[in-house]
Each structure stands twice: as C-alpha cells, then as structure tokens.
Symmetry: C2
Subunit: 374 residues, 2 copies
C-alpha cells in the first residue's frame, strides 16, 4: 500500500484492547500509544524544537490549513518541506485542515466538490478540494497525512450525520486517488477518518467504508466537538474494534489523561490535543497528584518543585513560588516552563501506558490514572 | 572597604581610556567591559536561566523596585535571596529602584527623607528612604547594590540639577551608612551614582563628592533619559576620568553598540540596557552587517541564517524565513529566539572589545563598530 509507514504491535493487554507497538516512518520511529504535541503554525507554542527533543517528543502535529495560509506552500516547497523549515527531524503528522475550515463559522461554503472558505487572517477566499488538501500536505511533506473530511458538528441529526459521513467517504476516495497519482504513497502515509457522530450504526458503516478503501492507518474524528465524555468513549468503543488490528488508530483532538487512558483501553494508539499546551499557558498544570493552578496564592512561598515525582527540566530546577511569580507577572518564561512541564507529563503518561501494557499491568495503571484525575 | 568585590585592570589601550579587567564577586568572576542583560522581574524577558548560561551571560540585572513589589522582600527573604528564587548562580547587580520610582509620573512625592510612590500594579502607597532601598537590596542579596539616587530628569535647569545632585549625595552617605550598619559590606558591594545632568562642573562635583565617600565602584547615572548621544558621551567624558582608575565604572542604561564602544573608549567597564531585549521582541535584530527587522517581507523566503558570522544558538539552527514566519504569526518562540540572538550579539561585542583591548587593537575595533552601526 504505502512503503512510507510500517506498524508493528509488540504487546497486547490480556484484559482490554490496549496494545503497544511501533510506527516506522521516514523521519524515525514512534512508540505507541503516543501523545503528539500540536504545532499548529510550524511551532509547538512557546517551545523550541530543542525543547521538544529534550522532553522526548517523538512526533508532532502540523496543521495544513494554517501552514497553507502562512508561511504558504510556496515557501514550504522552496525550502523542501516543513521539517526543514522548522528544523525538526523527527516525524510529523498533518491535519488535513478539515477541522479548521469547518470551525470558521459563517465563512465557509460546503459543496460535494469541496469547501470554499475565507482566511481568518485577511479574509481572502480559498477553495479546498480533497485533492487540494492532499497537494497542500504533500508540499508540507509530513510523514503522515490525513484525508480531507467533514468534521460533523455536534449535535447532528442522524440524517445530517449520515449525509456528512457519506461525503467524507467520497472525499476519502478522492484523497487516496490523489495520493497515489502524486506518488506520495512512497514517502507519506495517509490515514482515513471515521465519522458518524454519536450514531453507532453510522460509526460502523464509516469504519467499514474506509477499511474497504484500505488506508495505512485510521483516525476516529468528529470527537472533541462538544459531545459528552460518555458519547466520545462510546464512539471509540464502537469504531475501534471495526478497524483492522494491524493498522494504527488515531483519536483526534482527545487529550485529558483519563480519556487518554480509556481510549488506550479500547485500542487507540495515537492522540493529539491542544489541552496540555493551552492549559499550560493558562497556568493549569498536571502533577502526580492531579491538576493545580499555579496562579493560586498558596504557591507564592512554596519553594518546592511543581511535582517532586516529575523528571521534567522544570521540576528539576524551578520552584512553585518562582513559577507562580512568573505567571502573575505575565512573564514569557512562564508560558515556556509551564508548557515544557505539561507536555512532558503527557509524554510520560504515554510512556507509562506503554510500559504497563508491556508488563501486563495496564489495569492497575488505568485505575491509578482514574483515581488521580477522575 | 568591602570584601565582597575585587577589581583588577588587566590591560589598557594605549590610545584611549579603554581597559579590560576582572570583577571578583561572591557568585563568580565577571570580565570587563561587560554587558549585563536586564532581568527586571527575576527573569530576563523570554529567556530561561539555562538560556542565559548558554549565551555566556556573566552577570545580570535585577530591579529593586519591581522585586520589592513582586514577589516581595518577604518571599525573597524566605527563600534566601534572588539567586535561589530564580536559580541563577552567577553574579547579579540590582538597580536601587530610583530610576523606576522617578519614572512613575504623577505618582511620586520627593522629600529630602525619601520618595513616596504608588505601585504601578495596584496603586498601593510605599515610601523608600535611602536606608529602605538598601534594606530591599539586602533582601534581594545581589552581588552589587546601587545607592538610592534621584535620577535627574532631562532637560533640567542648572539649579535643579545641582539641588538634585546634592540630595543624591546626601542619600549616598545614608546608603553607605546603612550598608555598613547591616554588615552587608562583607557580602555585597555598593556603588555610588554620579549625577549632574549635562553640566560638566556638576558632574565633576558629583564624582568628587562620591569619591570622598569611597565606594567599591561608581556608576554614571542620569543618562538615557532623553539627552542627545553627544550629551551622553560628554557626561561620560567628563565624569569617567574623575573616578578612581582602580574602581569599576558602570554606565547605566546605555546599550546601542556605537555608544557602548564609545563609552568603553572613555574608560567605562559595565553596561546594561533593555534595548537588545526590547528590540528583539519588536523584531529588530543585530547582525554583523547592521540592524535588520525580521518582519520585513524580503525575509519570507530567505533560508539562510540570520547572521552567517554569528555563533549563537539561533543562527546555527534556524533560518531568517522561519524567524520571519514566527514573528509574523505572533508566536512566543519568536520572542525567545530573537532575544537569544540579540543578547548573544551584545555579549560577543563585549568579548570582542576585551580581546581588542588585550591585543592592542581597540582603535581598529572601534572604527569597525562605528562603520557597521554608525
């Protein structure tokens, strides 16, 4: 299919659908389950690429919509792709832009051919077809590309969800054709995206339809759009088992630790979410004893580390009192240190999940996470 | 006088008053001439302390006014001083707060006893006497403290400048007394600040008055307050030779490369300025060919380094096009990378000045800087 990616499941949990494995990609290997930091505009907000390496990020996300508008595909082509542009030599996955385009309320016009939208930067008009979304992602040169999909809004009637899902399938076929036509299958993997909103039969139909198209990997999309946690988990529980066990499964936009672990228990391998980085910029930090907000006055003279059990570059050096001061004073360094810590925490959570699955201790690990963050 | 500091002049330029030497301070040695990055609120804006070590910062500034208000002296005392609070183990110099207090237009009331001011943060009222300014700086624990002075406004009549300078001298005596009384002379050096505005006789009187008080080092203050470059240089040219050659001379708030080198030529050893860091955050960057603004469209597809002759951690990795993109996109990383580069540039400029003086090539170095930035 695609020689750009190989996926190997290395261990499975006997009691759940959790598994640990390895993705081999043009820019390196990725251990799964994995958390992928979001680098919307060719940078993970507040961090340098060296910072990302320091905290052990194995793969990051880029966003086709944002990168298409700025710096633009001409610039990315001129330099030889996003890896070179941002000097990140490990794997990258690009979101197709569907989610962003459909978030531009009132500025989009959807037709079976594609989506007309206006730039959030300057109001300029653009048209994305499935083939165009693939072309943009080829210019970016990510290790893994996503099909252009309609991210079905929530709530959606069954009728709307079904129609939307069918269009996503048509587009998936066009994306796949374009991917082969451009010869990108040799160097970039392409994932299909399961839609179907909260309707189990649609989720199953979507999974089956995409599996028929035979992608190197599959995402579960149309989640993190306002549905309840239970609805999100139900969608995963329905769709994941309908996807081939030898292909990676990516749950789009889901990040809170409990959801992360519950989705792993249902067979998900890959995750991304802006939550750890956005929370960090708001002072909301993960610790081994749950979340804290560093702007809270009780930290003003707390000279201990943010989390004594954390091995991140922040906890080893700076105190809660200093982080509190930086945040209160509106200092730029607060954004970076908080982001380093939260992302390290998510990456460690993924590493612990992998270890637990390998050691046959996933159920105990899952209970621990639920009691800490639940 | 003070066992907290030793200063040794190691080489002098035969043609000018330029000299290179070494300050031995409780937290380490500082080579002079030196540029001191400004860390107003217990952080050099956009950088971590590891960043500062990476670019070779030898000493940084803290600000007594800002630190007194936030995190507050109680917090700094509780943790054992600013070094521990921010985890910076190299020397620190603190500004006494005079400059800031006198910048709070309309909120200050000056009397011979001291200055009443209102916090720019919450409007709360505070009173700084010379003794209080020393007490605050003792709580901060910087290697070098500054006397509390009235930073004479520009323009100032001769009468006002004289009266203001006399008060600064009274306060300098009180600061020195407090410094001894508290026993801080064993661990912290104290510098007197020459005032006198643009009046040569007042500058000379000020220098003589402070030299009578016998401080470990002397600053030239009341510059960078709106005067012309010529007036600033004239003040240095007048005051510097009137200060003892075996004591360090610090020109407060002066930073542009040409002014820096011209002041070195007149015997100045220490400098601080927010300009390199503030410029960085506005996209204005130093290069070996002069200043550029990275937001300029001509850099959008310029994939070379910011400055091919620069050894900073940014120029070795990232391109002008990437820095341009980050700045245009309003990304936090732009602020950090730009700051790293500009500060490295200033630290390298100081290192080159030291090398040039030692090698007897200061005049050629000075001409080079003037032609590049003049």
């Amino acid at each position: 299919m695609s020689c750009a990616m190989q996926f190997t499941v290395e261990a499975t949990d006997p009691n759940t659908a959790a598994r640990t494995g390895r993705l081999r990609l043009p820019h390196g290997e990725v251990e799964t389950p994995i958390f992928m930091p979001v680098g919307t505009q060719a940078t993970v907000k507040a961090l340098s690429q060296e910072d990302l390496r320091t905290i052990g990020a194995q793969i990051i996300l880029g966003n086709a919509y944002h990168l298409y508008l700025r710096p633009g595909t001409d610039t990315l082509e001129a330099v030889g792709g996003l890896h070179r542009f941002m000097q990140w030599d490990r794997p990258i996955l690009t979101d197709s832009g569907g989610f962003q385009v459909f978030s531009l309320d009132g500025l989009t016009k959807v037709s079976p051919e594609g989506v007309q939208f206006q730039s959030h930067l300057d109001g300029s008009r653009h048209f994305f077809t499935p083939a165009k979304a693939i072309d943009v992602q080829i210019s970016i040169g990510a290790d893994i590309m996503m099909c252009f999909d309609e991210c079905t809004q929530y709530p959606a009637t069954r009728e709307h969800a079904e129609k939307s899902m069918r269009m996503t399938h048509d587009w998936a076929g066009q994306c796949k054709a374009r991917w082969h036509e451009r010869g990108a299958d040799a160097t970039q993997a392409l994932f299909g995206i399961v839609q179907g909103s909260v309707y189990d039969d649609l989720r199953l139909e979507s999974a089956a339809g995409l599996v028929d198209l035979d992608f190197p990997g599959y995402a579960i999309g149309g989640v993190s759009v306002g549905e309840t946690k239970e609805e999100m988990i139900a969608a995963v529980e329905c769709a994941a088992p309908a996807l081939p066990p030898d292909k990676p499964r990516y749950l789009m936009g889901v990040g809170p630790p409990v959801d992360f672990v519950e989705a792993i228990a249902r067979g998900v391998d890959m995750f991304d979410c802006v939550m750890p980085t956005r929370n960090a910029r708001n002072g909301s930090l993960f610790t081994s004893e749950g979340k804290i907000n560093i702007k809270n006055a009780r930290f003003s003279q707390d000279f201990g580390p943010l989390d004594p059990h954390c091995g991140c570059p922040v906890c080893g050096v700076y105190s809660r009192a200093y982080l509190h001061h930086l945040f209160r004073a509106g200092e730029i360094l607060a954004l970076r240190l908080n982001t380093l810590h939260n992302l390290y925490h998510m990456l460690e959570l993924a590493a612990s999940a992998r270890d637990a699955i390998r050691a046959g201790e996933f159920s105990a690990f899952r209970r621990g996470i639920t009691s800490r963050y639940g």
